[in-house]
Structures are given as structure tokens and as C-alpha cells.
Symmetry: C2
Subunit: 534 residues, 2 copies
Amino acid sequence: MGSVPGVSLLLLVVSLSLLSSPSVHGGKILVFPVDGSHWVNMKLLIQGLHARGHEITVVRTASSWYVKEDSPHYSSITVTLPEAIDIEQQDFFVTFLFKMLTIQKEGASLITFVKFYWEMLGALSNIHKQASQLTVEMFENKTLMQSIRDTQFDVVLIDPGLPAGVLVAHELKLPTVFNVRWITSGEGHFVVAPSPTSYVPTSGNAISDKMNFGERLKNTFYYVFNTCIDKLIVCPHYDRLVERYFGPDVNFYHLLQGADIWLMRVDFVFEFPRPTMPNIAYIGGFQCQPAKPLPTELEEFVQSSGEHGFILMSLGTLVQGLPVEITSEIAAAFAQLPQKVIWRHAGEPPSNLGNNTLLIKWLPQNDLLGHPKIKAFVAHGGTNGIYESIYNGVPIVGIPLLFDQFENCLRMEARGAAKVLDATKLTRQNFLEVIQEVIHNPSYRNNMKRLSALHRDKPMHPLETGLFWIEFVMRNKGASHLRTESYKMPWYAYYSVDVICLLITVLLTLTVIVVGSIRFLCCRLCRRRKTKQE
Amino acid sequence: MGSVPGVSLLLLVVSLSLLSSPSVHGGKILVFPVDGSHWVNMKLLIQGLHARGHEITVVRTASSWYVKEDSPHYSSITVTLPEAIDIEQQDFFVTFLFKMLTIQKEGASLITFVKFYWEMLGALSNIHKQASQLTVEMFENKTLMQSIRDTQFDVVLIDPGLPAGVLVAHELKLPTVFNVRWITSGEGHFVVAPSPTSYVPTSGNAISDKMNFGERLKNTFYYVFNTCIDKLIVCPHYDRLVERYFGPDVNFYHLLQGADIWLMRVDFVFEFPRPTMPNIAYIGGFQCQPAKPLPTELEEFVQSSGEHGFILMSLGTLVQGLPVEITSEIAAAFAQLPQKVIWRHAGEPPSNLGNNTLLIKWLPQNDLLGHPKIKAFVAHGGTNGIYESIYNGVPIVGIPLLFDQFENCLRMEARGAAKVLDATKLTRQNFLEVIQEVIHNPSYRNNMKRLSALHRDKPMHPLETGLFWIEFVMRNKGASHLRTESYKMPWYAYYSVDVICLLITVLLTLTVIVVGSIRFLCCRLCRRRKTKQE
């Protein structure tokens, strides 16, 4: 059958007519980013918004690593915190990682678990203490707040990993868009969408969506545990401020849940399918672009690998170095490979480095992952790297170190596109075996290619999706028609506990009445018979 | 700030590169439509798919009203059912409506409720009995099934309001796409997404998403009631066939839940926000297009209305006529208006028709709704009409008659874009008042204009969205990465009942042990004191 151009044309006309929604050139956007790898993402959205003619103002702290004061894409408001807690220093995470690896090395036990979380929760509390301080500094600076008010922003764009911006948006009565995967203490979905613990793996629990009874029990435990972390460790920092500035009727958690649009840095080639909400737009992999040519030196090194190709290793922006006992094992394994290796490495170079291995402080990761000669990506499992790997169809050797990296790696392993190693148990032998397995067993590459095809098969690039929804909120002054306000209900009403209790009571009462009546009748019958017999 | 063309260009390149997913020209699609207004929707998808170069085969019954055997857009398979139950005859719904109106007239009482549902469930059971018969006729016709197998279809497109196609797709081992709002006995979301009864109005319960305790209780009742209808009245027709053709290991309800993509004929300017799933794509309003010029006679009639404009009345494709005691009241009210009235009317014309009222058997509804002179739309509340009204920003006077029309109208009333009248209590006075209220109080028009702007503000026309996802399933042979398989879990595991029971048992045991120990210690202490005192 041939095609009918008339209908095609009609579709085109309909599309164009729908797409001619009023644009919002010259809008004003206030941005609250999170530093580190999160900023890499936020910067892309900012560049996109700037290219569309919007004015962007970024709120940064004076001690920020990555968020520069001057940029062609945004102006900034710099807030100086009274005591810069040491998370702002780059070696904070190196020290933190060393501690965590030492604890993990002790093996799985209750003591390890407690130690691990003691360290992690201490760090989490410190980070949020500092983030909440940002709000205080802003609210107490009346001149600053007045100038922000005078600017008449259209929307506040927030990375709610550190949710100070949520309070500022509420003070300014402005609609909010979240650029989010992690929020306060867990994955964003857990705050805004129903998350049945029977098939939605809880944050911190590296497990797939197919669970047996024991795993579901553990998953429920993690759910309760995360809720406790939220209520007892993270939220109190902000609750205090909400009480102080907005009074007792405002609830910090409801402010979080009330964001107009959630741009979720998630794609379902990575995340397990799970319930979602109409005001969540998925932008996972929005940072991915077709690879650009490599710098000459790097291209020459890569080409010198011949038919064997090369391996890329990077542990992300957060971790500047691994302990030398691990790096030397990695170096020794690499030295035995016929492939060339490009290793993003910032600390002391291992002494046993092979001739095939090139250490670099910074590398064009996406361009290398998109190079035809790449064979595998040795990664810590940060989502930026994982999405670039998916986009380019490169199988992963995962060495998760901190935070969500364990569950991220597990997701790729569950899809047969990665193999994961425990950093504390890494030896030159097992590392070499894993790399060779991933390179030579074609299933890893094929699975990753399939994920890549699915990921790219979208009606719209995820970055465009993100920009569309930010502008949507600006045009329509929010997106309340997409946002349920059920979160404002008391918990017992939300979970229908009161209704269930009433139904159970009625059922029990009916049972008692029926059973009572039957017994009463039986007794009377028996008595009458006895009377007759007598 | 100026825009940066470099970044724009980059975005464009990224978009184009992503959008260059392999197309599926020349694919083969097997379609199971539902007759009546549902077919109006399905036909649009078929035309779109045909225009993209696909071959479409539609399965129809010999007695179908609307689905013609020959079409330039599709070929057809005609199945003759042994006994065409009277739902295939147009007057089935007229008789049915008359019965329902008589029952409703008796006022709200338990008897009315029972009578109402007795009639409705009888009709529902008959409809599904007939629909399931289609499967038998197909499966028993070995030549037909072999020829379908030989055609090597890529996907089965089903309106699961009558889900016979689901069984055929399972037999053929083909991926499925649903074009759905209603499925078996309720709204599609209830089968595939979590639907907390605390804020999701249940099908059949005309209520908003903000409920008090009593309303939540009633909503829970409707949920249980609908589940019973599903399990006891609808599904048994198909369960029998599943058992007969696929054996005891296959579950009909799981086949329903396992569709790859759900094209939901819903938009959140209409539906209350509620949980959804990654494999649901929203195509509500996909039939809406910019209005075309009216036929000359109609345009002249409309223009003759002058500054007063005109009112459109239509009660949809299903209902061919209202009882004369209602139509004469409507006619009398219309006669008192300065506006002109265009009334889609198929039955006996009322004797008291005003000079300003034009009766027509068929009218270009969308073009009339898009006419600048239109003032209001008197509608029964079918979703096609409602979406066309939203698209064109025309306020509604709702006269719901059957099925979902009550809850559809309520949704528009909750948004201040409609006023609803009970057909059984309609008088010329109250009808006139309601029309005048909707025409003269600007809030109705303004609210509808706002909904219209929100509805049109989309990155992609909903029809394009629908076509994209059908082709996505064809390209990728399904969409399993978007579909949770949690529905395969036993209910007690899905709802974590086993985990909760264990936790309660552990908690109770601990409480008993602790309380027991304390009592034991207290007793020993008391005894020792007594011994000392003695």
C-alpha cells in the first residue's frame, strides 16, 4: 500500500499548529544547583536556556569548586557561608572514600553496616547543615532578597539534592522545576510517586526488581530506614528554617512534594520500570551528544592500539584518587592487556604502570566513549558516565565506590551490559578476568547496543524535553494540573487506614452479631428440647 | 542577553541524530477495534499509520455498524458471529437508554441502584459474551489463523474495551499496543497503575479527587464493586477461552496487564492527576484538529446569528434519540434564546421547535466547535466531544446519560468549564438558566480557554505520539523495558501482606517477651519484699 500525502500533510499542519504555543523569550530563571558532577548536568540545561534567550541567575557559595562566578551563560549571586564546612574542599571526598573502603574491607556484618552508615549519615547531616545555612544567609540579607524580588523571576530551577532553593521559591511564591535524581536522602520517585516495596528497589538497596521474600523484607527495611534518615537527619535542618520563616502551618516535606515539574535524570533502559506521576518528565541521558573528534595526541594514542582497540577508565569527578594498593593492582592488570588503556587519574601514579597505559587528569569522556576503537569502560557507576556509555553502546566494568554507584552498577549488570567488581576485593587476577570477559564475550556489547538503540529511540532528545518543560512552567505559571495534591492528606487518609479500620470494625461487628444470634438461637433450641424431654 | 547560535545548532544536531531512529515503513498491523465512537478514534490512528506506509488489517464482525469492509486505508477480516446479539443493532442503545432514564427518574435509593446496575451488568455481560465469541470463531477457523500467521504481522493494535484481540495476540506471540480508555469493566489505569482510592476517583463514581471520609469510603466501595464486576461478570467469558486454548498456566488478566504500550485517551487537563506507568503514553485529544470551513448552508445559518452567536447540541453517536418529554423541554428552552441553535437530532423532531433551532442528522462537530461564533456546547459528555470542546475552548452544558458520561461531565465541572444537568430532572426553566449561566458568566469560557491553552501546549501532537509508540513497538519488537512485570506476583506479595504480617508477628512477640519479662521481674521483686517483711 502506498502512503497518502494528504493525511501526512494534515498531521504536519496539526503538529505545527499545536507547537506554535507562545514562546517565552526573555524569561528570567533563578537556579539553585548542586556542586560537582550535578553541576555538569545543570550547566547543560543553563546553556540550553541561555541559547533560547532567557536570563539565568545562579545562586552559588563563595567556596564552590565548579560553579564559577562569571560565565557567558549566566550571572551569579554568591553567598558566603559563615563557616565553610569541609565538604567544600576537594579532599573531603578522598578522605571519606578511604574511610568507607576501610570499613567495607571488614566484610558484611552488623558492625560494618553500623559503621558505614554512621560515617555516611554524619557526612549527610553536615552537608545539609551547610546547605540549609545558605537559606539563612539569603533570608537575612534583606537587600539581596529585595533585589531578587525586583528581578521578577518566572521560575526557580532547583537540584533538590540540596533543597535550599525550595524555601527561597516558596518565599518568592514562584513555580519550581526540579532537575533531580537524588533528593534529601533518596531517589526522587520515593518523594513524589507511589513506590511499592514489593517491586521497587529502595535507595541504598542494591537489588533488582525481582525479589524473593527475604529480599522484599530487606527492601521494606531499607524503605523504613530511609524514611527515618529523612525525618530524623535531613529534614530537621530545613524544618527549623521553615518554622522560623514561614510559621507552623508550612511543612518542608510538602514544599518538596509540591514542585511543579520533576525533570528526572532517569531513563528506563537504566531504571527498572516503576510507577510514576504525570508531572515527572524523564531526561536521563540528556547530556549525551554524538562524539566529536579527539585531540590529535589522544587520537594518535588510540589509533596505535590497532585491532585490539582501547579501554577507558574513569572514576568520575568526585573521587580524586584511590588507595595505592588498589591502583597498583589495576595497573598490573592493565599492563597484561594487548589493548591500550586511557585512565583518568589525578593522584600519585602507580609505579607498576604498563607501557600501554596513559594517565590523564581530564579527558573528553563522551568523545572517547563514542570512538569506534573503544572496547570497554571501567567506571565507578556515576550516572553521567553510565548514560554516556549507554548512548555510545560501550559495555561497563563497574567498580562502585560510594553512594548510589552500587545500585547504578547493579542495574547495568541486571541487563547483561556490565560486570561489577568489589573495590575492596579487587586483585590483578580477578580484575583482568572481568575485563577480558566483558571484552571477549559478545553478549555484553550486544546488550549495551540494544539498550543504546532503545535509549536513542525517542520522539525528542531528553535535553529538549527538559527545556520544553521549564519553558512550559514559565509560560503557564506552574503545572498544577499535572500535580496531585494528595501529599497534603494526613498519612492515615492517604493510605486509607481509617476506611480499612471502619470496614474491619463493621465486618467484626457483623460477625459477632451473626455468631451471637446463632448461639443464642441454638441455646434456646437446646433449652426447649431439654424442657420437652423433662 | 543574546542567544548563542552554536548551542542552538548543537541541540538541533543532537535532536536530529536521535530522531534518526530506523523507520518501519511497510510494517504490518493487525487491528481489533471497538465499534461506535471508539471506531472514530481508531480510524484516525489507522489513517495515520496508513499514511506512513504500513499495511493495516482490521478484524470486524459481519454485523458491524461503523467498521466498513472496504476502505482505502485498510483491508479487513470479517468474522460472522453465530448469533448476533442485539448490541449490534442501533436501537439496542436507544432501548437501553430509555430503561436507564426510567430507573434514574425514580431517584437515588438502594432499589434504584440495584435496578440500574442489574440492567447495566446484564448489558455488559451480553456485550462481552459476544466479544469473546469472536475469539472462538477465529481460533476454530484454522485456515484464517494460518493466513494471519503467514502475513507475519509486526504488532497487534487493540481497543481493549472488548479484549478479544488480546487472546489472538497471545496466540500469535506478537507485541501489543492498546488504544484505550475503558477496559473490561473500568478505566484503563486501574488495570495497569497503582490507583490509591484515597485520591483516585474510581470508575462509576462521579466524584472529584478531593474526598472527605464518607466519599473515600464510597470510593473504596466502588473499587471493590468494580473488581467484583471484573472477576465475576466480565473476565469469566475470557477465562474460559484462555483455559480452553492456552491451558491453566495462562491468566487472562495478566494478558491484559502485559500490553507493551498503553495509548491512553486521556489528558490531564481533563483527568485528575494520578499515578501512571512508564509504558503509558497519553494521547487524549488526538482526534482534534484546527477547524475547517463549514459547508455554505451551515455557515450562512451560523452567520445569521449575528452578535449573539450560536449553541451546538449533540448527544453523540451512541444515542439516537431522547424521550420526547425531554426533547420538548429542551426545544422550548432553546426557543427562548436569542442565540441560534444547531442540534444533532436523529429521532422524531419535537413539535415545539423554535425558529432559531436547526436539526441535523450529522454535523461537522469539530469545525462547528472551532467557529468563532460558538457560545456553548450542549453535550452528553462523551470524551470525543469533551476533547474537541477543550481543544476549541468552548464551555459545556453537560447532560450525561450513560456509562462514563457522568464522571466525564463532573471533571469539566470541577474545573469550572462546564455546568451539568440531570437529564431526568431537566425542565425548560432549569435548562434555560444553565445555558444562560454558561454563556453570560465569563468564568466558564475563561476556564475552558485556559484548559485549551494547557492542552495545546505539548512538545508533540497526541496523534503523533500515538503513531510514534506504535512504530516504536514495531521497531523494537515490544517495549518490555517500560513494562513492570509486578502484576505476575501473587497479590499478597504485591501488597507486601506477607512482609507486614511477619513484621507485626515479630513486633507482637517482642512486646509479649518484654512485657512478660517485666511482669516476671516485678512479681519476683514483690515476693522478695513480702518474704523480707514477713
